[in-house]
């Protein structure tokens, strides 16, 4: 096996994994605490990229773009919670799916209105261009930046949830909403803050992937479904589950696409393997999710108290 290819693909898998984690973490918090299915969470991923791209186009600084885009995306998340999501918490999941499906259309059309139908490219920041040699492969620096940022945010989120007063309230809100409210906590505001944090993380993922792909309408709709796969596999409401689930899904998806044909060729003719591999590799994560739902519906790492 080619070590350079393996290293590259493994890193690509990790990169997809951390991006998925950034989207899934907010999704699982919102889902776990408010019991709210937010199909429109991918919209934050999209607008994060567009906000950042606009600032980069004007100032040329990616870091400045990031510093502007994150609070803006958080503000949009906060506004979405207060204006629409809040009145849906008491409804059933069917209503959540429908209303947030409508929000996707609104978000996509709004982006179309403000930025046009064409995608928006963001140049790779000057300080992260080039490649570094690593385990036999040439790794683009920017991909390392993505992976490290994602891991740093994961650690930060873990510290926030397990070590701070806000995190304590979030955990308490997840296990017993009514009790937290009875203790005098403004639970509405807490929910809005969680929404804003989730939106900012999704926006961060979107603006980090934009220099590699580009910011485009509908980019959120592709990742949101995979993010749902992640939180189902990891266990709804669990940040640890979202993290491990995201890495599993990222690595399996990427590795499946590059190595499944080789694997299949060991027990069938290579003709069949070459036909079956692309189909099977695209289906792999959904097969994994369906298997987990059948065998262990609560996911791999369900939160302890619900």
């Amino acid at each position: 096996m080619d070590l350079a290819l393996f290293t590259t693909q493994m890193l690509n898998g990790l990169q997809l994994g951390v991006l998925l984690f950034l989207v899934a973490a907010g999704l699982t918090l919102i889902f776990g605490i408010m019991d709210f299915i937010n199909l429109a969470h991918g919209a934050f991923y999209m607008i994060g990229a567009y906000f950042c791209g606009t600032v980069v186009a004007v100032t040329g600084s990616f870091l400045l773009g990031l510093l502007v885009a994150l609070p803006l995306t958080a503000a949009v998340g906060y506004a979405a919670e207060v204006s629409i999501a809040r009145s849906l918490y008491t409804r059933d999941h069917l209503d959540h799916v429908l209303a947030t499906f409508g929000l996707i259309l609104i978000a996509d059309t709004s982006v179309h209105f403000f930025w046009g139908a064409e995608g928006m490219g963001i140049p790779t920041p000057w300080w992260a261009q080039g490649r570094v040699p690593f385990a036999g492969a040439e790794i683009p620096v920017f991909r390392l930046v993505i992976v490290c940022t994602g891991l740093a945010v994961a650690v930060g989120l873990w510290l926030l949830v397990s070590r701070t007063r806000l995190g304590m309230l979030i955990r308490a809100g997840a296990s017993n909403r009514a009790m937290v409210q009875a203790l005098g906590v403004d639970i509405q505001r807490l929910f809005a803050i969680v929404f804003a944090i989730g939106a900012a993380m999704a926006g961060l993922a979107g603006l980090m992937i934009a220099p590699i792909t580009e910011a485009s309408i509908g980019m959120g709709n592709e990742i949101i479904i995979v993010a749902f796969v992640v939180i189902i596999i990891g266990g709804i409401g669990s940040i640890k589950g979202a993290f491990i689930g995201a890495l599993i899904v990222g690595v399996i998806d990427t590795m499946g696409r590059s190595y499944l044909d080789v694997l299949l060729a060991t027990f069938m003719t290579s003709d069949y393997a070459e036909t079956a591999a692309p189909a099977l590799s695209a289906m792999l994560i959904y097969i994994l999710m369906a298997a987990i739902l059948v065998i262990r519906p609560q996911g791999l790492f369900p939160p302890r108290t619900r």
Binding site: L98, A99, M283, L293
Partner: protein
């Protein structure tokens, strides 16, 4: 007769005379719109059986539409145009896919059911996206419509009436099913599955059979859709399509016999004319019709519970 029943029959009667009106008005493209409306309505009626009456929120129902379409497209690819083959293939594939996925999905509840049905639909989607032989994501052209005895489906009016009769048959099947003992049990599982089990009903089997009936009917609609568009692609099975189907059923009113056809009619007409209307209000605004559409979706969920059927029913209770 209830208001919604009158409205339902009225809509069906309107569809029955539509070809004459369209021919008189000289607007042949309206024929396409009406045919598509009827075919999608069959799919929505089948979704209503499991979603509205059985409480199973399937977020992957578009997969059945796609499977039915490919059950016509793939035989046609091998120059098999026999309509009976197409019909049998569509019904069998729809029911079989519903059986296999239903056995697994129906063990889960609530949001897990939503997600697992979505997962199975995504699997089918990606399967067809990767099948180079059948066009992959470029889709597959069907050069001839299904050959059936006595009638010629290439005649648009004949095909239209076949679709309309199919819709009426689908409504009749759902009507008979839900009012039979079987349907009573099904509706019982929706409100309280445990209680139905305690009463001694093997509810899993009831729900599975309902799921298979819905799958077969929807695959049949897919077979009609493939014949109608003469071009099929995995895009028909995108998860957003499943979302649209749910929206149509909810818009019309879940668990109401005629609800889905109201929902589909409003949906298809909005999809077609919202752009025109918005352009009339402000030239150039039509491009953004999805915005108004999404807003409407949010407003329907927030304020119009019970859908169109609910509004038609209200005067009775007043």
């Amino acid at each position: 007769m209830k208001g919604e029943t009158i409205a339902g029959w009225g809509l069906l009667a309107l569809l029955a005379v539509a070809p004459f009106a369209i021919a008189a008005a000289g607007q042949p493209f309206l024929m396409d719109l009406a045919t598509r409306l009827i075919i999608i309505a069959i799919g929505a009626v089948s979704l209503n059986l499991i979603l509205g009456y059985g409480g199973m929120v399937s977020f992957g129902h578009a997969a059945f539409l796609g499977l039915g379409a490919y059950a016509v497209g793939i035989p046609a690819y091998y120059d098999i145009y026999d309509g009976w083959v197409h019909l049998l293939a569509a019904l069998a594939v729809g029911a079989a896919f519903a059986f296999v996925t239903g056995v697994m999905s129906l063990r889960t509840k609530g949001v897990h059911f939503i997600m697992i049905t979505m997962a199975f639909a995504q699997m089918v989607y990606f399967l067809f996206v990767s099948l180079e032989e059948y066009g992959a994501d470029d889709g597959l052209v069907i050069y001839e419509r299904s050959a059936v005895p006595l009638i010629d489906l290439h005649d648009d009016t004949t095909f239209y009436y076949l679709c309309l009769l199919s819709l009426i048959a689908a409504l009749f099947i759902v009507h008979r099913v839900v009012n039979a003992r079987f349907g009573m049990v099904l509706q019982g599982t929706k409100s309280n599955d445990q209680r139905m089990q305690a009463l001694g009903f093997p509810t899993f089997r009831y729900r599975l059979v309902a799921y298979m009936i819905a799958g077969a009917i929807c695959a049949y609609a897919g077979a009609l859709l493939g014949n109608f568009t003469e071009f099929i692609s995995p895009d028909m099975m995108d998860w957003t399509r499943s979302g649209e189907l749910i929206f149509m059923v909810v818009l019309g009113g879940t668990g109401r016999l005629y609800g889905p056809i109201f929902g589909v009619a409003v949906f298809i007409l909005l999809e077609e004319y919202l752009e025109v209307i918005m352009n009339a209000v402000h030239p150039g605004a039509g491009v953004y019709w999805h915005f108004a559409f999404g807003l409407l979706l949010v407003l329907v969920v927030l304020f119009a519970r019970g859908g169109i059927s609910g509004m038609l029913r209200r005067p009775e209770h007043a």
